[in-house]
């Protein structure tokens, strides 16, 4: 049989030799460089969205196997406080979760984290060893919040001596003083703080730092500022001064409640603002005797800052959320607050943006107390402005986003103190990054000298049709967290509302995870272009087509691309026709059927393991040679 090549056909089946590479500069799509760790990392939507890049699918699989302690330790590696975060994390992973693009509801990632924490065994033996002989470097940390404690977690095992100065008489920062115990029980907080404090942190309570200069004079090798954003915003409208006795700043009021200084509030309470602080204030009010609590929002619901689940939890407790009301004045009669006047607002909204605002009237609402929950800011009255630590026009410290170093070498900022209020998981990530900088700094290395993330892949093939993960798509809906009944929940201030998942709920929920870290890995030289993978894919992710301009390739996909934020895999030229394999990652359910159907194993299912460098991974001179 003569092997003759015939390219004169119209169906685009041009032989590779005829194609001869891209026709013009930029005219065809370049093959995806999957060696860049970001490619496969992005596919794991939850991990990519998590500020600390927690390996979510891995811990979910461990939970599925009943390996709760292992699941906890996978969490702890990156997020340090799994028990705390399993209850109150802001969970940026959930809106990102791929499952949400399939049946609308993401995997209950956060709840599953709590499952690991609730059911783990004693983990102390698995915590890093702390060397008896220290490395001679002394670090001062200001504030005993999650940011500072993460720095200690990373540095104490390396031989650093960490001294934490805390203004209050308990450690924990806002997690203790502001997040109410009915969401985060003290026992959980204490346990996870103690894992770190017991490593040998020198914790100085009731020790506010009042002068940075004096602290620096004490000769620490580095200083970490983790003092948070402690200043609640004011509402300067008429009547504010006169009614002061019954107007409370949200975060201060929550702190007073947490430490037992405030034990009651009036029956009618108005909360101004509709962020997460407002949600904690309204629910706390209900537990201190209020029975008519309204949260007053200036804008419509789509513009609320509070997370959906916090709003739902508040509404479940019969809190009324009133929209389109802008505070105008406090009304005071006979020297006492009687209520507030609001302007009734109307908005023109186009494409989710407010384009016009109108006041259509006024409304008076009676109130015994008002709580202001309209935001918080950083405040550094204790940092002298002439010691080399620069502040910007908004009086925020100038600090590098990656290294967290301020303009004064050796002084680092992290958590809410660095770039304004965020959340616990961001504070933890800041802590990890600052710890790397401090480690470098103390050892004469550039703070910028940081290891890159790495990506490892390992096949999950067990047999011809068997994978070492549960690849079947489980169609079940998201499980709902049970709450303590309304009749019982308000009796004690610290009754935890969420009961945790039952074993049955856990068993279902873990199967909803799509194992996005079990990646579809393609070897173009093996593909015989039989289309089997394309035909079997239940979500039409795959296409073999001619290469071309991005929009042309996009128009030829098996299913039109729906999500420009999702990665698109482009293979190199295929052997037989010179076409390319394209995979739209958007709704791949990682069922492995493409790999199972492929006659040549051109597709394989491989677990991606993201290597996240921490301080301990950054080589410096052997510690014994320094100092002591």
């Amino acid at each position: 049989m003569t092997q003759r090549f015939h390219h004169a056909n119209a169906c685009g089946m041009l032989g590779k030799t005829a194609l001869g590479g891209p026709t013009a500069e930029g005219a065809t799509m370049k093959p995806t460089d999957t060696r860049n760790p970001d490619y496969f990392h992005k596919v794991v939507d939850c991990q990519w969205a998590c500020p600390a890049h927690t390996d979510v699918p891995e811990y979910i699989r461990l939970i599925a196997q009943g390996r709760f302690t292992d699941a906890y330790m996978v969490n702890r590696e990156s997020n340090v406080f799994p028990g705390i975060l399993g209850r109150v994390c802001d969970r940026p992973c959930e809106p990102a979760c791929r499952r949400g693009r399939i049946d609308d509801k993401p995997v209950a990632i956060c709840r599953l984290k709590r499952v690991a924490a609730d059911h783990k065994e004693d983990i102390r033996a698995r915590l890093p060893d702390v060397p008896k002989r220290k490395n001679g470097r002394k670090i001062a940390l200001i504030g005993a919040g999650c940011a500072s404690l993460t720095v200690c977690n990373d540095l104490v095992p390396l031989g650093y001596e960490c001294t934490v100065f805390e203004k209050l008489d308990k450690p924990g920062g806002l997690m203790r003083s502001n997040i109410p115990a009915f969401r985060l029980p003290a026992r959980v907080l204490d346990e996870e703080m103690d894992y770190i404090l017991d490593m040998g942190v020198d914790l100085r309570l009731n020790s506010p730092v009042e002068s940075m200069q004096s602290l620096l004079d004490e000769g620490f090798d580095a200083v970490f500022v983790g003092s948070g954003a402690p200043k609640g915003k004011e509402l300067d409208i008429p009547g504010r001064q006169e009614a002061d006795a019954n107007i409370h700043i949200g975060i201060e009021w929550l702190e007073a409640v947490a430490f037992g200084h405030t034990e009651a509030i009036g029956r009618k309470v108005l909360i101004i603002g509709v962020g997460n602080t407002a949600m904690d204030c309204c629910r706390t009010s209900l537990r201190l005797g209020a029975d008519d609590v309204r949260v007053m929002a200036r804008k419509p619901r789509d513009f609320f800052k509070a997370s959906d689940w916090e709003l739902e939890d508040a509404e479940e407790e019969q809190v009324e959320i009133v929209i389109n009301r802008s505070p105008k004045k406090f009304v005071v009669e006979e020297g006492k607050l009687t209520g507030m006047v609001f302007e009734v607002m109307e908005y023109a909204i186009e494409n989710g943006r407010i384009t016009d605002t109108r006041v259509t009237g006024e409304e008076f609402l009676a109130a015994d107390d008002v709580i202001l929950a309209i935001g918080q800011e950083t405040a550094f009255p204790w940092i002298e402005r002439d010691i080399g630590i620069e502040f910007n026009q908004w009086d925020e410290p100038v600090c590098d986003r990656t290294t967290h170093q301020s303009t004064r070498p050796g002084v680092f900022f992290g958590g809410d103190a660095a770039f304004g209020p965020e959340n616990i998981i961001w504070a933890v990530e800041h802590g990890h990054q600052a710890a790397i900088s401090i480690h470098n700094y103390c050892n004469g290395k550039q703070v910028e000298d940081r290891l890159p993330q790495t990506m490892n892949l390992g096949s999950r093939k067990m047999g011809i049709h068997e994978w070492s993960y549960s690849n079947y798509f489980e169609p079940i809906a998201r499980r709902k967290m049970e709450h303590v009944p309304l009749t019982e929940r308000f009796r004690e201030l610290d009754t935890e509302v969420e009961l945790g998942f039952t074993a049955e709920q856990t068993a279902c929920e873990v199967e909803r995870c799509l194992n996005c870290d079990i990646q579809t890995v393609f070897t173009d030289s093996l593909c015989i272009e039989c289309d089997a993978c394309i035909d079997i894919c239940p979500t039409q992710c795959l296409t073999i087509t001619e290469n071309g301009r991005e929009e042309d390739v996009g128009a030829r996909l098996t299913a039109a691309p729906k999500n420009p934020d999702q990665p698109m895999y482009i293979s190199d030229q295929l052997e037989q026709t010179g076409r390319i394999m394209v995979k739209d990652e958007n709704v791949c359910v990682h069922c492995g059927l493409c790999a199972e159907r492929c006659p040549t194993a051109a597709w394989d299912m491989q677990k991606s393991i993201l290597g996240i460098p921490y301080a301990k991974d950054h080589d410096v001179m052997p510690i014994a040679k320094v100092g002591s």
């Binding site: 015939h6 079947y472 289309d531 089997a532 492929c598």
Partner: protein, 351 residues
């Protein structure tokens, strides 16, 4: 084979056809064929063709004989009617089905063994009677199901897996169909859905017998070097001639081809088969020319694909046999079986 069934997943933005159905609604059971089998690709092309046309699955009847190819009706349109008959007998069963249920759209799936050996006679008569069926031959050059013996479509010289060369001449189903007076004769390749899906749609809408010979590599027994039905060989020797596309009635016809001539073939229901020629001199309405062309390219070891011959005006089985427009299932029992007296009356007129 797979351990898990293809899951039914729905997601935001999933495409739906004119009936509001998804592609998955046109699928069938999970294929038990070898991974990479060309037949599975043809199945997927059928799923897409039916979906794009927006046909109701229960308006369709699937018919087949025996072979790996003949198993495939189980893998698409699980909502359709179906009859998996005996080896080579699909055309007889299809004839019966059409005689009784003219309202159903019939699709017959056969193999090169099923249609060119044991069922060759059946194939020939279905074609010359212009039976109203889309007749797909999933052509892999071997008897796949019985482990890879050469079939009647194997080219002389093509090598078996263990190296023996075929010494018999090959039957070309397309040339055969044209010779037999067929009204629609096409060839395609399982690895080219861009060509195959429109051809399937055209074949489904063609009033008479639409024969599509689809080269469909058998990954297990006939995809090696030396085989002329492998993926690689087929791709290297493809020669496309006439692409066909189906344009439904009352669709505004937009001329969006930027190159090459196109010809419209009008069907009786007002729809149009739009033919686009890549060989400008080729005329798909010329029987002698088509046979000549096939022969010339066969001699050059080229696999000619596309809609090679069409005549939509030939009378079909229904026209010739005068089948009942109303499905037999919808007739009253008395109409279907009017009794001995009526028979006697009828016979009287014939004496």
């Amino acid at each position: 084979m797979s351990y898990i069934a293809k899951p039914k997943v729905s997601w935001a933005g999933q495409e739906r056809n004119s009936l509001g159905l998804t592609l998955a609604d046109y699928e069938g059971g999970l294929s038990t064929l070898c991974a990479g089998c060309g037949h599975d690709s043809i199945t997927a092309a059928l799923v897409r063709g039916f979906w794009e046309l927006g046909l109701e699955p229960e308006q369709v009847i699937k018919l087949s004989g025996i072979g790996c190819s003949s198993k495939t009706p189980a893998y698409f349109l699980s909502g359709a009617h179906g009859f998996n008959s005996v080896h080579g007998r699909m055309p007889s069963v299809a004839t019966g089905a059409q005689a009784a249920r003219r309202d159903l759209i019939a699709v017959g799936i056969s193999g090169d063994g099923d249609s060119l050996s044991i069922g060759f006679g059946q194939f020939a008569h279905a074609v010359r009677r212009n039976l109203n069926v889309l007749y797909i031959i999933e052509n892999n050059g071997v008897y796949g199901l019985t482990k890879g013996q050469f079939s009647a479509s194997a080219d002389p010289g093509s090598k078996a897996k263990k190296g023996a060369a075929n010494r018999n001449q090959a039957i070309d189903p397309v040339a055969t169909a044209i010779t037999l007076g067929g009204s629609f004769a096409a060839r395609s390749f399982s690895g080219d859905k861009k060509q195959l899906v429109p051809l399937i749609k055209a074949g489904l809408m063609h009033p008479g017998c639409a024969v599509i010979d689809v080269v469909s590599p058998c990954v297990t027994f006939n995809d090696h070097e030396g085989s002329t039905k492998s993926y690689a060989w087929t791709r290297q020797h493809l020669h496309a001639t006439v692409e066909a596309d189906y344009v439904p009635p009352s669709t505004e016809i937009q001329v969006d081809y930027d190159d090459g001539a196109h010809t419209d073939v009008n069907l009786h229901d007002g729809s149009v088969l739009r033919l686009k020629k890549t060989d400008p001199d080729y005329d798909p309405s010329n029987r002698a020319g088509a046979l000549d062309f096939l022969e010339a390219h066969r001699a050059r070891a080229e696999v000619v694909t596309g809609l090679l011959y069409i005549d939509p005006d030939l009378p079909t089985f229904h026209d010739i046999a005068g089948t009942s427009k109303q499905p037999l299932t919808q007739h009253e029992f008395e109409d279907l079986s009017p009794g001995a007296d009526a028979l006697a009356e009828l016979q009287k007129g014939l004496r």
